[in-house]
């Protein structure tokens, strides 16, 4: 199940997805389940 506002990454090809509407199914890419990325606010300069 995907979560709103979370990033998912494909460990095979490096594609990242940002979920803007949650759904029941898991996200997959390159025939593998995409991995949930931990929230990580960056020290951006603004």
């Amino acid at each position: 199940m995907s979560q709103l506002g979370k990033r998912y990454r494909c460990e095979e090809c490096g594609t990242e997805m940002l979920c803007t509407k949650a759904g029941e199914e898991d996200l997959s890419c390159c025939d593998k389940e995409m991995q949930l990325q931990e929230p990580k606010p960056l020290p951006s300069s603004d």
């Binding site: 929230p39 606010p41 951006s44 603004d46």
Partner: protein, 524 residues
């Protein structure tokens, strides 16, 4: 992808979160989205089409954010105008951009009305903050328009903002900034909106400046609340940080100095602050040293960029502001803190070149050049000025002098125009100014070159002393002897009450040269 997607994405993730806090009022992402749609619909009614220019002459306010996104949604080009500009400068910018619709703050209406008869491209003038009889009123446009979503064709490379540089000399130059330039920066550097992370950015930098626009776009994409001040005022800044529990802020060095020197500083709880970014002008070492001590929970970032580079291109990160380690490491970090602007961001290439454009070895001073997807392709309809700063293969001449160390850190040495050459030796004003700033009696200082019969040029110090301090020129010159090579030492000193600076805190060297540049000038 274009900048309007920033708003759509954040609105999908955190629609009920405040995106703008201004003068006691709050607008959520959902509110912003709705008001932007309404304003876009109104602009269609005013016959705005893709590529048309829409000007904004007002201090920072919620309508500024809305008007930008409303224009962007139609593929129109937003033209933020410097509200401190004189009438003839404004007239030039509005005409040069061929502005069609002008959003105006009521404070500036009388001046604009005197200009309008000569501005043939302007079809409508909308008053942002007051309902003036017989004039178009912003809130009427919002309330009388549909909130239906607008979908228009916007190319990634389309210009979204035409920004006039706050140049210290000559006519302002218009820099077209594309959607893709901002998208490149934001996606590479800003974490997207997250339901679990709330950040508040206190915006005091004007939105007609690229740093203001960068902060606004980063905030919207990042799901941050943008707490806006009309203009910087130190007490209000401190109160706002405490009241709103602000987590990050961008400041120019003069603002940071005012904050940490404010007599009431210790009365405020500033624990929420986690990041302060500074830039736009050189940071005196004594100021950043004191700020690090007085704000122990804050991560400091020095950001360097220009309008022509569409925001930050190098940064000196929080880890470089922690002076720890062996004596050698501490020395290296202190040196970086005094004049380094850090390393290039991942989507930017930077090199140091000589006057012929050839790359220079490490540690040698030359002009800083930059290349990357965010760098402008040229000034608006001005091939001559474009050719002066852009090479054929896309490198931008920044006009700033600098050098690079073994670890890839870049150091500023001043503006190319400000470099002093004494008897064939280059003198970087920034280096001499750094020494002057460390003098306990000196509040502010600048170095200019003056004609010298024997050496060609000689460095002259223009110095403002701290309140109630007294010093002699000899004392200042002697102090510099201890920290500088002999030829770099100022050969004359002029005392002034304060230095002229532009709105971003940059010293107006041209003005100093005009006023104090005569070899025989004597203080009265």
């Amino acid at each position: 992808m274009n900048t309007t997607d920033f708003m759509s994405i954040a609105n999908a993730i955190c629609p009920e979160r405040d995106v703008v806090v201004f003068e006691g009022k709050r607008w959520t992402f959902a509110h912003l989205n709705e008001r932007v749609n309404r304003l876009s619909q109104a602009l269609i009614g005013l016959e705005i089409e893709h590529g048309d220019r829409i000007g904004m002459l007002q201090v920072n306010c919620n309508q500024y954010v809305e008007a930008y996104f409303a224009a962007a949604k139609l593929g129109a080009i937003f033209v933020p105008l410097n509200f401190r500009a004189k009438a003839d400068e404004l007239s030039y910018m509005i005409a040069n951009a061929q502005t069609k619709i002008l959003f105006v703050g009521s404070k500036y209406l009388a001046m604009v009305d005197t200009l309008l008869p000569q501005l043939s491209t302007v079809t409508d003038c909308v008053i942002v903050d007051a309902d003036v009889t017989g004039r178009l009123y912003y809130e009427d446009l919002i309330s009388s328009s549909s909130s239906d979503e607008i979908v228009s064709e916007i190319g990634d490379e389309d210009t979204t903002i035409l920004m006039y540089t706050a140049g210290t000399t000559g006519r302002p130059k218009a820099v077209p900034l594309s959607h893709s330039g901002f998208v490149s920066y934001v996606l590479d550097n800003v974490a997207p909106a997250d339901p679990e992370i709330e950040e508040k950015n206190l915006l005091t930098v004007p939105l007609y400046h690229v740093a203001g626009i960068q902060a606004m776009l980063a905030a919207v994409y990042g799901g941050r609340s943008l707490v806006m001040m009309k203009q910087f005022e130190v007490k209000e800044w401190l109160e706002t940080v405490e009241r709103e529990k602000v987590t990050r802020a961008m400041l120019v060095p003069t603002m940071l100095k005012m904050i940490i020197d404010d007599p009431g500083f210790n009365r405020y709880n500033l624990e929420s602050l986690k990041i302060i970014t500074y830039g736009a002008a050189p940071m005196p070492f004594e100021v950043i040293k004191k700020a690090i001590k007085k704000l122990p929970g804050v991560n400091f970032i020095n950001a360097y960029g220009q309008t022509e580079t569409a925001s930050t291109i190098t940064s000196l990160g929080p880890e470089d502001h922690i002076i720890e380690g062996t004596d050698e490491e501490r020395y290296r970090k202190l040196k970086r803190l005094t004049s380094s602007i850090g390393k290039p961001l991942s989507d930017v290439e930077v090199k140091i070149v000589d006057e012929a454009g050839n790359p220079l070895p490490l540690l040698e001073v030359g002009e800083i050049m930059a290349k990357g997807p965010r760098i402008m392709t040229g000034y608006w309809h001005d091939e001559e000025k474009t050719a002066q700063v852009m090479t054929k293969d896309g490198w931008l001449r920044t006009g700033d002098k600098g050098w690079m160390d073994e670890a890839g850190y870049i150091y500023l040495a001043g503006r190319s125009d400000d470099m002093i050459i004494r008897g064939g030796e280059n003198i970087s004003p920034a280096e001499v100014e750094g020494v002057l700033y460390s003098h306990p009696k000196i509040e502010d200082a600048a170095i200019i070159g003056i004609p010298d019969a024997k050496w060609g040029q000689a460095p002259r110090a223009i110095v403002a002393l701290k309140k109630r301090e007294v010093a002699t020129p000899e004392e200042i010159m002697e102090y510099c002897r201890s920290g500088l090579a002999g030829f770099k030492r100022p050969r004359s000193v002029i005392f002034v009450d304060s230095l002229p600076r532009n709105q971003m805190g940059k010293v107006l060297k041209k003005e100093l040269r005009e006023k104090y540049g005569e070899p025989e000038y004597k203080s009265s």
